[in-house]
Symmetry: C2
Subunit: 340 residues, 2 copies
């Protein structure tokens, strides 16, 4: 369904740039792209010394452009999160070959010496994916057509993006018209579109969320990446605005059963599942009175199978909706619960 709305829109397919990186932990973005957006990844390119291998064809920017690539995507995070000066020649060569540059690093692409001029000459865009669109609207609060499922959590960083991606993939595999909707930088690269909601001006959080999951066909499902937690002393405002603007029909509560306190905020306890469910449902019902909990996603990473299954069974008893770990569990029951 086509309409005009403010959103970051990337041009795919990508050439994945891996720099001179040797540590796979610093290449999570690249591996995420390969795993979740394989159809958007046409090749990889490295600098001398780089050892990360995604198993994609090695290509120069010019060769990638000839093969159909539209953007060079920076898939690694150097120490400090900044673009090193010695990357400039390769990035400039890429724009001269007609590729856009896609980056989630802190350095503004415009500030890389020579890059802005080269991009203007080549008529290509420099895409800092954390940078929100300039023309965000305030939220209307009006109901949109289509169906939406929001990932919400008892803390940050416990699998909300992964859950949404896995559910969207499973639903599409079943022939359901479903999209993953991105609200953070890695998600935007995977989806090719989205808005980093934590980077927008506070007045526009819910408005941005409305743009992220626009009106759609009645049988279309959006699986919306969550951010933060209503129980987080620093980020709950982002979470609430995102939830209101998403006006979800269904909520998936994401939780790490091994975590007792918030990561990096050790004075704050992770809430009980039922407490979290109640507050999320109350908040969601402001903009969608029909919102209901449809699943619980547990991050059981590192738990042994029997213990993980026990945790899943316990969560399912507590909340009376399907509990699953998208890394371990088949998702058919969760999808059935989403479809109602």
């Amino acid at each position: 369904m086509s309409q005009t709305f403010a959103r970051v829109e990337l041009h795919t397919p990508y050439l994945l740039f891996l720099g001179e990186e040797t540590n796979p932990l610093k290449a999570k973005t690249a591996f995420g792209l390969r795993d979740w957006a394989a159809e958007s990844c046409i090749g990889q390119t490295r600098l001398p010394g780089g050892t990360i291998d995604l198993g994609l064809p090695e290509m120069t920017p010019a060769a990638a452009a000839t093969a159909g690539a539209r953007s060079l995507l920076i898939g690694v995070t150097p120490v400090g999160g900044r673009i090193p000066a010695h990357w400039a020649p390769l990035l400039i060569a890429a724009v001269e070959a007609g590729l856009e540059i896609v980056s989630g690093l802190h350095t503004a692409l415009e500030s890389v010496p020579g890059l802005a001029l080269a991009a203007r000459r080549a008529g290509v865009r420099l895409m800092d994916v954390r940078r929100p669109p300039d023309d965000l609207p305030r939220a209307t609060g009006k109901r949109r057509s289509g169906k939406r499922v929001a990932m919400v959590g008892t803390d940050c960083a416990l699998g909300k993006k992964y859950t949404a991606l896995a559910l969207a993939r499973t639903m599409r595999g079943q022939g359901i018209d479903a999209d993953f909707r991105a609200t953070g930088q890695t998600g935007i690269m995977i989806a090719g579109a989205g808005i980093a909601v934590d980077a927008v001006i506070a007045d526009f959080i819910a408005g941005a969320a409305e743009c992220i999951s626009p009106a759609a066909a009645d049988d279309h499902w959006d699986l919306i990446e969550g951010q933060g937690s209503l129980f987080h002393p620093a980020y709950a405002g982002v979470t609430l605005g995102l939830l209101h603007g998403s006006q979800p029909d269904g909520l998936i509560l994401c939780h790490d059963p091994q975590r007792t306190h918030l990561v990096s905020w050790p004075d704050y306890a992770v809430p009980e599942l039922a407490v979290a469910r109640d507050l999320y449902l109350q908040a969601a019902r402001l903009t969608n009175p029909g919102a209901r909990l449809v699943g619980v996603s547990l991050n059981t990473f590192g738990m042994d199978e029997a213990v993980a299954q026990q945790a899943l069974a316990q969560a399912e008893r507590a909340l009376e909706v399907p509990a699953f770990d998208p890394m371990r569990s088949p998702l058919q029951r969760a999808v059935a619960a989403i479809l109602g």
Copy 2:
């Protein structure tokens, strides 16, 4: 209590600039300053045709500077909220006289032709009060010393700023160490400091709120201006982040008994007082488990006295805390409830 924190800090006293305005409704900022920060208002200056009179001495910028003024404050809002080109000469004359310029209008002061250069030469600042400080931190969620009361509401624009100002004035009149803490542009001008929380990047809402009411003496009270409403489909994220960062000991629920639906969002009903109380308390207790409701502030503007008193009595019965209209009621009972 002195400490380093990110906040907009203005230099007072002000010369109030009234342009060529003739409509008092377009001079609400100037009247608010005169009424709530009389000690910060040294004079007024107008352009030919201007008829607004605050009853302050008429002064040129140079004369005001000689008399001790530190800033020229734009006290009127022209149509469109922008600075007209013909104001530039007077603004430039003001900075040449050593005055800073304080503005809450949409036009960035830097963009007024000639003004930025003149300000740099004179070594004075151009203060767009809606622009947040550049160095906002993320919220820590750690308890700070001192006492805080947050104004919260069932909607926007129903008297939260006025309530906080009136309570702070009453408390100071009783010899209590109390400050009004500003979270919006007019409040910042009145207080001479603050942050426009709706203009900060979403990740920093609660962090900004922590900066607005810094650690203070144990018997010091901050009366914190509220923004938006937890029941507002566009702005609740701002409200929640502000509430968490404020970590209030007491809440004052602000309400307009004549309003059935949110202003400009007619699909959304104003919540019941008890429902609003419960959600605000639950949210506030994340960062201050001792938070309690200490008062209800009703905006009874336009109601006749008997009807207003009836509304106040009804709110007081419903919530079992003092109900008052800061425009009509003595505030001693409310202050007593705040002090516990």
